[in-house]
């Protein structure tokens, strides 16, 4: 289909622009606060990034398949309260709760996938439903903020491994490596195909429904892990993960150059996008900017990052044979 044209004039991925932006901001931040250029400082930065990056990675898979998923905050809330209530009560609670949050995430994802792929509901709306249900479940498990996270989780996952590699960095590295391998698999390619044109994919014999189901399930598991990492950092449980976090997850994906219309982008960009958003918070804090300016900057940076991405897309389009529109969604692939 589009594969041939894509291979021919392979442009710089739009995540490259996001990467440059991220590096530039990081450089300014490190110049401004030289104390952050230590292992501890960098570990701290990665710790702050990893939750958003994990959630954004999960969402990226769903968006690549041309669906949307709002359930991340719900699943993160559930896994956060699970870790906060169980990890200290059970022997080797750290591992039991890890398995449990993965299972919970998978289940939520499978429900989403079933609703979207097999009942053919619109993903934006039905994942809104599962998000609200998950938030309800989180409130049932833990009515008010509290609980306690096992010290093992809190210390190990926020510290360094072997004294040199930040654990959060290791996790991010695993995610990126896993993605680089995964996107070359049959399933990985199928996700791009389904996201680009699901009708054509079905006609070529791809299992569109199965692919979507798996994508949602993987995303759910990623949200579960994000909740686990969130617990490691906060050390406590909070059934109310704010909805603005959801918007940041989407922003990270979009800044990373993944087209919200599906079929274009990747997890590396989303990790970079999460990095941009985190470094920006740190930078604005380091510069002593008041909270309301932080909001304004957040908005401006989002737009600027997307504009950069669009520029790269325009450059790419010049090299590419335009074969026509693929989808109905309005501004999906400009």
């Amino acid at each position: 289909m589009n594969q041939a044209t894509r291979e021919k004039g392979r442009p710089l991925p739009s995540s490259a622009f996001a990467g440059l932006l991220c590096l530039a901001m990081l450089a300014i931040y490190l110049l401004k606060t030289p104390s952050a250029i230590t292992l501890a400082g960098i570990t701290d930065l990665l710790n702050n990034t990893v939750v958003l990056a994990l959630a954004a990675s999960g969402l990226t898979l769903v968006i690549l398949a041309a669906e949307l998923d709002l359930s991340s905050v719900g699943v993160i809330a559930v896994s956060n309260v699970i870790v906060a209530t169980l990890s200290t009560k059970l022997p080797s609670g750290a591992f039991i709760s890890l398995t449990l949050v993965c299972l919970v995430g998978l289940t939520a994802g499978l429900v989403n996938g079933w609703l979207v792929a097999f009942l053919e509901l619109q993903s934006l709306a039905c994942t809104l439903g599962t998000m609200i249900v998950c938030q309800g479940i989180a409130l049932l498990i833990l009515e008010a903020p509290g609980g306690e996270v096992d010290g093992f989780i809190m210390n190990r996952l926020t510290d360094t491994v072997f004294g040199v590699i930040p654990a959060a960095g290791l996790i991010l590295g695993l995610v990126v490596t896993g993605w680089l391998l995964f996107r070359r698999t049959r399933l990985g390619i199928a996700i791009y195909a389904v996201g680009t044109d699901s009708v054509a994919s079905r006609l070529t014999g791809l299992n569109v429904k199965g692919t979507k189901l798996i994508v949602f399930a993987l995303a759910g598991a990623a949200y579960g892990l994000a909740g686990y990492m969130l617990s490691a950092q906060t050390g406590t449980g909070d059934p109310r993960v704010s909805n603005s976090f959801l918007l940041y997850v989407f922003a990270a994906v979009a800044i990373g150059g993944t087209s919200l219309g599906g079929g274009r982008g990747g997890i590396i960009g989303s990790v970079v996008g999460a990095g941009i958003l985190t470094v920006m918070q740190k930078l604005l804090f380091a510069l002593g900017v008041a909270e309301f300016y932080t909001n304004i900057f957040n908005g401006v940076i989002m737009v600027v990052a997307i504009l950069f991405g669009n520029l790269s897309a325009i450059v790419a389009l010049r090299q590419r044979v335009i074969t026509g529109r693929h989808k109905n969604s309005q501004y999906a692939r400009q």
Partner: protein
């Protein structure tokens, strides 16, 4: 409304599936209330129904703008912030005096339209995905409002607005009259004017709309501006209802506006949906949240029921639509008319 469209436009098949959807959604809202009445006989007095309708006005008005934007295949995530800003502005500018309302009202409306314009310009000309553009604009203007007001308005809303939300005309609360007027005006604008039909055309196929020569950019900007306008109306009414304003009072309405549009039968990717459907979705969601509040349940169970019912409503709506369109096609041999433009579509905005 439906009978009228049937007689005027002979090309429309006897019953639009979207209209059926909307009626079913309304019916299920009524059923929900009847079940509550059976379970709890004290529930469901006329007063309570009137209260439900009164509080539904915010969602009914705000989701109209969301519906227009979704019709184009976009989305507006700044509605919550715009509602808050409108409420804060009207409270801050009037400061409890009715005289100030004369200039405060247009200033508030224009400011919120301006926010909508920024959204529209970014989406139409800078080609930024609507999801990000509206999110970024919402975040940025939230920052601006936070910087100017420190979070909550210390001033009271003009009494006239408060009266508007509580007074009655010959026994009927004014908000209910407003809802009816808004429903008629909104439906006519969306479904019966050339501009409205062009939005359907753009949402159905932007490439076809471009070939036909529709002013895509201008209409996109107009839709987002309209969304800002509706959100500011909703925000001012909300401020009048609660007689004060805070900077987070609009937030709980953002997600329900999207849910209302989709439950009402619209397609998120654009080109399909009636305002009557969105209206039904808004009434459904408002009565759902009122009923859930009446049930003495913990917040967790309320969320689970609310989310579950949204999903069930979506399943019923989707499946019902499939069944209906199948039967309809077999009976009439026609496809539901949606992407077909009326003849007067050439006239400019």
């Amino acid at each position: 409304m439906d009978s009228e469209s049937r007689s005027v436009n002979p090309g429309v098949v006897a019953l639009k599936p979207e209209t059926i959807t909307a009626f079913l959604v309304l019916l299920s809202a009524v059923l929900m209330m009847l079940v509550m009445k059976l379970l709890n006989p004290t529930f469901g007095s006329i007063e309570q129904i009137a209260a439900i309708l009164t509080t539904s006005i915010f969602l009914v008005v705000a989701s109209y703008g969301q519906g227009l934007v979704i019709l184009l295949g976009g989305i507006d995530l700044s509605i919550g912030v715009v509602m808050s800003i409108a409420g804060m502005m009207i409270a801050g500018l009037t400061n409890g005096s009715n005289e100030a309302l004369i200039w405060a009202l247009p200033v508030t409306l224009l400011s919120c339209i301006a926010i909508g314009l920024v959204n529209g310009l970014g989406v139409a000309f800078l080609k930024i995905p609507p999801f990000i553009m509206t999110l970024a604009v919402g975040t940025a203007f939230f920052g601006v409002a936070l910087g100017m007001t420190a979070g909550s308005s210390q001033r009271t809303v003009a009494p006239a607005l408060q009266v508007l939300m509580s007074a009655r005309i010959s026994g009927i609360p004014i908000p209910i009259v407003l809802i009816c007027g808004f429903l008629i005006a909104g439906s006519l604008l969306q479904g019966r004017t050339a501009t409205g039909r062009k939005l359907y055309a753009i949402g159905s196929s932007i490439a076809a709309a471009r070939v036909v020569g529709l002013p895509i950019e201008a209409l996109t900007v107009a839709a987002y501006a309209m969304s800002g306008l509706c959100a500011s109306f909703a925000g001012m009414l909300l401020a009048g209802y609660s007689s004060s304003a805070t900077l987070d009072m609009g937030d709980p309405f953002l997600m329900p506006t999207i849910a209302a549009v989709v439950i009402g039968g619209a397609r998120v990717t654009g080109g399909k949906g009636l305002y009557f459907g969105t209206f039904a979705g808004a009434i459904f969601l408002s009565s759902l949240s009122t009923i859930i509040t009446v049930l003495s349940l913990s917040q967790g169970w309320r969320n689970i029921i609310q989310g579950g019912i949204i999903i069930i409503a979506l399943i019923l709506q989707t499946k019902q639509w499939y069944l209906f369109s199948m039967v309809n096609r077999r009976l009439t041999g026609k496809r539901p008319l949606y992407s077909v433009l009326p003849q007067n579509s050439e006239s400019q905005l």
